[in-house]
Symmetry: none
Subunit: 136 residues, 4 copies
């Protein structure tokens, strides 16, 4: 099974973190359905050209968070979690990011209206670009 994960070599973010974040997003947003069997640690490591240790950590972390489940000798699956729980997670992640953005604005003395306009501009840009990509 093919998993769409992009690694940015230039980024300062740790490898495991890049992979973990993206995989998490795919799961909680429903782009990978529950019950799905994920690629083996070795496979995924190979396809991302990174160490198995790194992937093992990712799977481990997500299992600890209850998003994955490992069956000995079979592989790693996306766990069945309540829809409410998944939505909760999804909401939390976005909310945190938005709060950070607003806090940043406040910290450098951005006005409420000024910040709102900036947000709306960027929102439009990004979603226009996205729908462009989606149509392809």
């Amino acid at each position: 099974m093919w998993i769409p994960i992009q690694i940015d070599d230039q980024s300062a973010e740790p490898l495991y973190y890049q992979i973990e974040t993206q995989l998490k997003s795919l799961i909680v947003s429903g782009q990978i359905e529950e019950g799905t069997l994920l690629p083996s640690i070795r496979e995924l490591a190979a396809s991302l050209s990174c160490s198995v240790i790194t992937i093992r950590r990712v799977y481990q972390d997500l299992e600890n968070e209850g998003l994955l489940r490992t069956k000995q000798g079979t592989g790693t699956f996306v766990a069945k979690v309540g829809t409410g729980e998944r939505d909760e997670y999804r909401r939390t992640v976005v909310q945190t990011a938005v709060e950070t953005a607003v806090d940043t604005g406040i910290s450098v003395q951005y006005g409420e209206e000024e910040l709102k306009q900036l947000f709306l501009k960027i929102l439009k840009q990004k979603y226009d670009k996205k729908s462009g990509r989606d149509r392809e």
Copy 2:
């Protein structure tokens, strides 16, 4: 001179980074005027209960970014930077944070309208709270 910096011991963010970020905000937002003599590294270290080396690093980093200027035997000053440059910096920082927030929303399949409403809600909350504090 007193500088309002809050340290969060629980945070995963490195100490030096917390201080650096806050000091940077104070400068680029104009809350500390250019030319101001900052507290000595020993003073600030004492008042934040951390090592002088940590403060030294903060001052040095900000000097490398052109926000501070240090003179041996005299002290550390807020650099005189073109207003344009400072505004530019201020804008970049906020824009990056907003972009990250929107990207996060997209990554977990948030709809444009849904994300907009969430943002507006948080924006209102935070600015209401802020104006409450400001009136005190």
Copy 3:
């Protein structure tokens, strides 16, 4: 990997600065190719008999200048920088040194011809010595 760096204990120049300057020269002149994995900070510190912190500072400074890229857990690499940028850097460094020399001459009232002859003499000396060394 072995890196040819000479330390002069007698010099008034700070240790970190001597190392930094020489490493920078090696990189911008192309004597160390881009992408090369440099020795670990501990290794280099040992081979130069100095503290790891001194080397760490060197690597960090050069990373801030965009000449190196470090990845935690992996090591420190020579960054892939545009050739133009590297040439630009190389030119700037030499130009500054030459300007300083000429300014010094002017400040003590050297005549143009007098300074030129002195330069040509020293140029010849140094390059003759160099080509002698190169042949070895």
Copy 4:
């Protein structure tokens, strides 16, 4: 007596060093004649807006080098030194600067001819500019 010394606040060079270097140049190049009575420490400090400590250090250093002589209760004079000695000093200072420039060129793999052309270009520029200023 007025002494033409420029202080660069932006420079990383220590204050005392900027002053010392310029004063030294004025003396060894003969722009201030031997026997001249220099301004008092307080006067010079006032006219350069710096600490008397800094000027005291400058006078002290130059006295140690034999370029100045202090008479109790009278003031500080430019010492009478042999012309040979003065020329020797003048030559040394320029030679060192030129050697540094050539060394820098060599360290980043500049070719002999390339470096020569760069030098001649800068030499011409600077002396043309100088003679422009002199004619004013």
